[in-house]
Symmetry: C2
Subunit: 294 residues, 2 copies
């Protein structure tokens, strides 16, 4: 990662963290629920989605404060999905990012409620944002609800569960990832660009960009699960093998997965050029996500 | 229940059921997830919240279609909360309304996701409603998110869990019910009146009305758990005793609980009069909820 991008990411990660603190401080709820929500929000994620939203906004717009609350809300939605995904009834994960998962620190009931609370609060945050017009709020809520709901992320989670323990095709796997991970990434990019007043044609190319970026992210995740450094990843490698999960390396081999990733990178950059965003940070982020080691 | 009220409730229950079918039919998601969502939506609830919203709207406004989607969304939020509440990690209930709970018919993971999906879809439904202005949508989403989120219903659920198995005061119990049940009832009544263009002063009195109506509902629930008919209730009586739950009859005795209910009924009707809604169906509904046998 180049020094500028590293600075950019650090700056925006800090901004998002400040927003979390601000929003959770002002929230009037039970201390244990608040603690549980904050625990997962502060568990040191990559903040991929809010950073993409901010970068996408900056490719077209100038007033970064305008997109900050929405970016925070989006990361809350992502965090809720991780909390629920880690539950014993779902993926049954004890660790995430090197830390015990929410239900291990608190308990299952609190983790379920903390997830519910984060999802609900994210819509409240957007509805309350004084820098957005009512029309902008409605468009954002509509987009986020579609991308994270039964036709999006939640739909991907149920597909993913149905695919465990049996062989699936590359096509089926892409479909799962496109829903489970891709939809929220897509809404991050489109929401940012929409607030930055990108044209409909630009939004269309960004949809293509987002699709391939989501896949790049997933291939790299799968590759790191085989070749990664446990310490950098903060989780044991080889867990996909144990889970009998279908992954790119399993389907295509490591070399095949690397080649597939390069195809996706090329298509993503092509779409970015057509969206007139080739000089934006989105370009650097594409390379970064493709080459990341954690 | 008088014949007119019975007809009113049946008519609006059917309308809400039609809306569920319409919205679920148009939803593009995994068949199993959709089936799980529909299972709980169709499990024969009293539709208390949407009927209150429709009645509250009709006390002030004329175009009932305007409030139908929001009423449907609200019942979806209520249904999601029941699905999550019944989970083994929460109340661990095998039956609700005489039918096996969602996680017993499907599985825990599907039940968690069906709840998440219903919550998210409810915001999408409001954001998509073509009969509402952007400002109305934002107000509704704001209100529903606050009432059902960490400062409302979800906050009440975590308080409720913390109160099981230990003696609590009437005051503490009222606080739990006000959040866990009352907040969503309040938002039903206020959302309906708001769309019907009630004045701020009327909304204030309706807030008081909603508070007492929520308590009436809860006292009657507790009374029925002791004196009710299992067949009419569709659930075993005495389950609060088994759960070591704090209830009105346990704190005040059955007679004391009945008297407390009468105090709440008087206060509710007084508020309704001040809100200029004394001739509305809300008045009949207050008596109905106070005297219901299931």
């Amino acid at each position: 990662m180049n020094a500028n991008l590293s600075e950019y990411i650090t700056k925006y990660k800090d901004m998002i963290q400040d927003e979390f603190n601000r929003y959770l401080r002002s929230l009037n709820t039970h201390p244990r629920l608040k603690e549980s929500m904050l625990y997962s929000l502060e568990a040191g994620g990559k903040r991929l989605r809010p950073i993409l939203m901010l970068a996408s906004y900056e490719a077209y717009g100038q007033q970064i404060e305008k997109v900050l609350s929405t970016a925070t809300a989006l990361e809350m939605i992502h965090t809720y999905s991780l909390i629920h995904d880690d539950l014993p009834a779902m993926d049954d994960d004890d660790f995430r990012r090197g830390k015990p998962t929410n239900h291990k620190v608190f308990d299952e009931a609190t983790a379920i409620l903390a997830g519910d609370a984060l999802l609900t609060y994210s819509f409240e945050i957007i509805a309350n944002d004084s820098l957005l017009t009512a029309e902008e709020k409605v468009s954002l809520i509509q987009m986020l609800a579609v991308c994270s709901g039964p036709a999006g992320m939640v739909g991907g989670q149920i597909l993913d569960m149905g695919a465990e323990g049996r062989p699936i095709s590359l096509e089926e796997m892409e479909r799962i990832h496109a829903l489970k991970t891709g939809e929220l990434v897509r809404s991050a990019i489109l929401a940012g660009a929409m607030l930055g007043k990108a044209t409909d044609e630009q939004l269309e190319h960004l949809t293509t960009f987002a699709y391939y970026l989501g896949l790049i992210f997933q291939v790299q995740d799968d590759i790191l699960d085989v070749t990664g450094d446990e310490e950098k990843l903060g989780k044991p490698v080889g867990s996909d093998e144990d889970n009998q999960k279908s992954t790119y390396p399993k389907l295509l081999g490591i070399d095949g997965a690397m080649k597939q990733k390069e195809v996706y990178v090329e298509k993503a950059k092509d779409a970015l050029e057509k969206a007139g965003a080739v000089n934006s940070v989105l370009m650097d982020l594409t390379d970064y996500f493709s080459n990341r080691d954690h």
